[in-house]
């Protein structure tokens, strides 16, 4: 179990950074925050690519294909839709 120490350290520190950064996001951007962070959670795609590329059995190939597909929907859809939303906020005239 000792080899869990470093990943757990990374996890705790990242969670702390997340709390610090995200607490300051204003309520008006909460929907894009959610869809954007959601796209980031699609980073599980890197696991999916490894699994799908291994090609060891039919079952593994099916699981790998589904994993890559799901994760890609999450990543591509999430970033694009967030961009579309922020575009609408973006071209407003700013406070004088």
């Amino acid at each position: 179990m000792a080899d869990l120490v470093i990943p757990i350290t990374v996890f705790v520190l990242a969670a702390y950074v997340g709390f610090e950064v995200i607490t300051k996001v204003p309520p008006q951007l909460h929907t894009p925050l959610m869809s954007g962070s959601n796209a980031i959670s699609g980073v599980t795609i890197i696991g999916a690519l490894v699994v799908a590329g291994r090609g060891d059995s039919t079952v593994a190939a099916v699981l790998g294909f589904l994993a890559v597909t799901f994760a890609t929907i999450n990543v591509v859809g999430g970033f694009l839709v967030t961009d579309r939303m922020l575009q609408m906020f973006h071209h407003k005239k700013d406070k004088p």
Partner: protein, 457 residues
């Protein structure tokens, strides 16, 4: 590419995610922030493809192509009103992907170290619950599943039993269970997601979506433990933190606890409280012309939008009305309650779509004190978030929930289809106040009638 270089590039990707999220702190930098995070993701994907020995390239390519096509199509075509269900679906896909990665790792070999087994089980269970729960939430928001709470007989005992079964199967898998046991565990987790989200009502969806968002992050983080990837652990933790913060904000805005929403006694309490004598009390019903005159000759108006605005897709008509009023010199602002709509920030996105400048959108805290100095509050499709009972009536099931004090304006105009109580099933004393004008109409119809009437006024 060697492993050390790859590790550094993954670190760069993780930093891009953090800086990207940080830029979401202002609408001015937000779009660039999101693009930076997307760039980070691209780096992570390319590095993975370069360092991994790909033995079955067609599986990978097919997954990427299908996923990009589906995701791109959904992102481009979705209506802003349907954003909550889209985010729910994306949450589900993310959770599902994490569970699948863990499952594939489990099936790869039967002699895994204990720590890998533990993280595989965690990733699978959290991912599977996120997957099924998110798609039930999607169904509710899309209207495919009843928005009302749906339970099954004996749920109070059934759910803990199911949870116990999941714990039992998890231990069995970790201590050397067969693939069959593993699949039973997946099945049990999927069922748990369904039966836990079904009993949650439509009005509580902002909490559920935020919570599932946190879960999808946790699932990704656990998958990171499984495949020993810091990039995954960091990103998952960021998303988990984001989801938890939003969950907390939503829960506070309803003056409830997370346990109360998830294991809800709310529906039952509302029934007991009883809607009372709806329709017996006199209301002041107004025509479009009455309301138009009230608005056109006001000095200041605060618009309070709610889910009804989204359902009727009336945001553009509302903006047209606001433009007319502003041309006449009326000061128009918007008050956004944290739980207005079906997800955090939902109303802001709708109004941004209709070209409302974001500096006219105010949070509850920012605008609350301005209501007594305002001539007209225009409530469009909102109900529980403006219910004075939450402030004044200790016996009300929603007592203590922060509300927008629209009743303190000189005149409060409520646009609503009927006197029926909102999702929570609670009568709203606001409708019967002397300074409240009720305008009974669908939000879109009401807005276009008002536009015509204000032009005449």
């Amino acid at each position: 590419m060697n492993a050390t270089l790859a590790a550094f590039l993954y670190l760069i990707a993780a930093v891009a995610f953090i800086v990207g999220l940080k830029r979401l702190q202002s609408p001015v930098t937000a779009q660039r922030g999101n693009q930076l995070a997307a760039l980070g993701m691209l780096i992570a994907i390319v590095v993975t493809l370069l360092v991994t020995e790909i033995l079955s390239p067609w599986v990978v390519i097919a997954g990427l192509v299908v996923g990009a096509a589906v995701g791109g199509f959904l992102a481009r075509t979705v209506e802003m009103t349907a954003m909550p269900q889209l985010v729910a679906a994306f949450n589900g896909f993310g959770g599902g992907a994490s569970a699948l990665v863990a499952a594939a790792e489990f099936l790869k070999s039967d002699a895994l170290p204990l720590r890998t087994d533990i993280t595989i089980v965690l990733s699978t269970v959290i991912g599977a619950v996120t997957f099924s729960g998110s798609f039930v939430a999607f169904g509710k928001l899309q209207g495919l599943v009843s928005g009302q709470p749906v339970g099954y007989p004996g749920q109070r005992f059934g759910d803990p039993l199911l949870a116990a079964i999941i714990v039992g199967l998890s231990v069995w898998v970790v201590t050397g269970g067969s693939p069959l046991v593993f699949w039973l565990l997946v099945l049990a987790a999927l069922i748990l997601g369904v039966v836990r989200v079904l009993p949650i009502g439509g009005a509580d969806m902002p909490v559920v979506i935020s919570f599932l968002n946190a879960f999808s992050g946790m699932a990704a983080s656990m998958a990171g433990f499984v495949i020993d990837s810091n990039a995954l652990i960091i990103s998952g933790a960021l998303v988990g933190a984001s989801g938890l913060i939003l969950t907390n904000i939503m829960v506070k805005a309803m003056n409830r606890s997370l346990t109360n929403v998830l294991f809800g006694a709310f529906g039952a309490a509302a029934m007991e409280g009883g809607p009372g004598a709806i329709g017996d009390k006199p209301v002041r019903s107004a025509t479009a012309d009455d309301v138009a005159v009230t608005l056109a000759y006001a000095g200041s108006v605060i618009v309070v939008p709610g889910y009804g605005l989204a359902v009727a897709q009336a945001q553009h008509n509302l903006k047209e009305l606001a433009n007319l009023l502003e041309e006449r010199g009326v000061d128009v602002r918007y008050a956004i309650h944290p739980v207005a709509g079906r997800m955090p920030g939902h109303m802001n996105v709708l109004l941004a779509e209709a070209d409302v400048e974001y500096d006219k959108l105010y949070d509850l805290d920012q605008i609350q004190n301005d209501f007594p100095r305002t001539d007209v509050a225009l409530v469009v499709g909102a109900n529980d978030v403006v219910n004075p009972a939450a402030r004044d009536d200790e016996t009300s099931p929603i007592y203590g929930m922060p509300i927008l004090d629209v009743d303190k304006t000189t005149t409060c105009v409520v646009i609503k289809r009927s006197l029926s109580p909102g999702f929570a099933g609670i009568d709203n004393p606001l409708f019967y106040l002397d300074n409240t004008l009720m305008f009974f109409a669908d939000a879109k119809r009401a807005m276009s009638d008002l536009v015509a009437a204000v032009k005449e006024a």
